[in-house]
Symmetry: C2
Subunit: 289 residues, 2 copies
């Protein structure tokens, strides 16, 4: 790491949306001496108050004023809102850099393409999150050693991409480049299906809970691990599933087909094939240490 970590990278940054990701990003920008002042923008006044109380941002501003005062604008709102805000933000961002951090990339890249100053936009997706939401969910050190995807970089100005790369490197992230269409296919498999699986597993068990409140006394680490994403926020995830509908449906159909193989093994008492299914699943050890 020959990056000079002592030198502040940019003057000021506007973080639009001070929730889990925006708030954690604001904390990291400060901690890594990336920006001078951090301006927070959020339509939810309670989020603004909490962000100030928690010291996530230096000042709350209107979006227009925050953009005027900043070199970099980080869009960290739900993906449907990001798409809607982006044209207006780009209009105000001549010579600045605008980056988003959303979980889908194709829709926002299309939104950028039809906007003025579209080359000032860099589409990114840091691969980090938790099941919690809001400013109080923000944590320090969130992005270290995680991957971040930069999409469709050919549509962005080279200096904008370069600055965004510097910011993510300073955050300790591993940068991958991908086109936005491929990104949305891959994240359906690697992230979106995990959320649907957890939501559905929670609903499965909660359906049973109606009959017996006590079963949760038995819950241990395995249950918690597979179900924790079920706490994830509706405002974040409905727009993600909506935007990535086709890819998520593909994966969901495959997942249901895989579950039906287990069902069929049990119904037919074919425990040899059940073992084969488990042994195949064990191959995930190659990837998850």
């Amino acid at each position: 790491m020959n990056d000079n970590n002592d030198k502040q990278l940019v003057n000021n940054v506007a973080v639009v949306g001070i929730g889990l990701i925006g708030g954690s990003m604001a904390l990291a920008l400060k901690e890594k001496n990336i920006a001078g002042k951090i301006y927070g923008v959020d339509a939810n006044s309670s989020h603004c108050e909490k962000a100030m109380a928690l010291g996530l941002v230096d000042e709350i501003q209107t979006m227009e004023e925050a953009i005027r005062l900043s070199d970099v604008i980080i869009l960290a709102v739900p993906v449907n809102i990001a798409d809607a805000l982006l044209p207006r933000i780009l209009q105000l961002s001549e010579g600045k850099v605008v980056m988003d951090v959303g979980s889908t990339k194709n829709a926002i890249c299309q939104s950028a393409a039809t906007s003025v100053n579209s080359h000032r936009f860099v589409a990114t997706h840091p691969m980090w999150g938790t099941e919690f939401s809001g400013p109080e969910a923000a944590v320090t050190g969130a992005f270290v050693n995680k991957a971040v995807v930069i999409c469709d970089k050919k549509n962005s100005a080279p200096d904008a991409v370069s600055l965004v790369e510097s910011i993510y490197k300073r955050l300790g992230m591993h940068i991958l480049f991908m086109d936005s269409v491929s990104h949305d296919v891959h994240t359906a498999y690697i992230s979106h299906i995990s959320h649907i699986s957890s939501f559905a597993l929670a609903n499965t068990v909660l359906e049973k809970e109606k009959e017996d409140e006590n079963i949760f006394e038995l819950a241990s680490g395995g249950f918690e691990s597979t179900v924790r994403l079920a706490k994830s926020n509706i405002d974040t995830w409905v727009p993600v599933f909506k935007q990535n509908k086709e890819n998520v449906l593909d994966v969901l159909n495959e997942h249901i087909a895989q579950l039906k193989k287990f069902k069929s093994c049990l119904e037919k008492e074919n425990f040899e094939y059940l073992g084969e299914l488990i042994q195949n699943a064990n191959k995930i050890k190659r990837i998850l240490k």
Copy 2:
């Protein structure tokens, strides 16, 4: 905690099956001064060597000799093997206490019922585990603050139940009592389905990996969390699913039905109902903090 933690509870203990659970149990018995000598029994000679090398047990013995030398016999082998071994172990265990730690309880309680000395058997299930297996997976402090279920205690001698309770209390566990039939219903919801969901999710993503090796670069905490149980051991889990087939099928059918609701929402673009499904799943917050 008025329990006198200084006093050794029993002389010697035989641990039959020195894998993840047996090995962790052996470590905890030593750490909490529950037993003097720990005798290890395992049909796999490589497990025996590792258990000695790792200091999990004091001595490797044949099952017969280990039982002769011990006051308490802990059966920590896969549930199908436990059922098969139990009658022979009970035959040798006049005046001793035999406890199992398996993930299903109905089959072993039935196996005990038809054995001699059946009242010396206490059916238990400590609600702890990881996705790893073998002696090298054993960890210290595994059972602290976890729940343990004791099943069908009316079929066990009161002094045997009392000793088992003392052991689990000394391990720092919270004891629940349940009949073995209810146990198997509840664990299908709270544990077994999580494993099937993870196995199937791993197979879903591995199926995709055939097309593109690179998607795992994107994997982050959420994916790891929902898929980690897919590393779990075939020898442990096939017998569990086999023994608890009917309950697991009930839950699996419910889970597939819940996933189909998500599928239907996406297909019909009914995002309002999708939001309701997510909000319902969020109720798991009441249980998982």
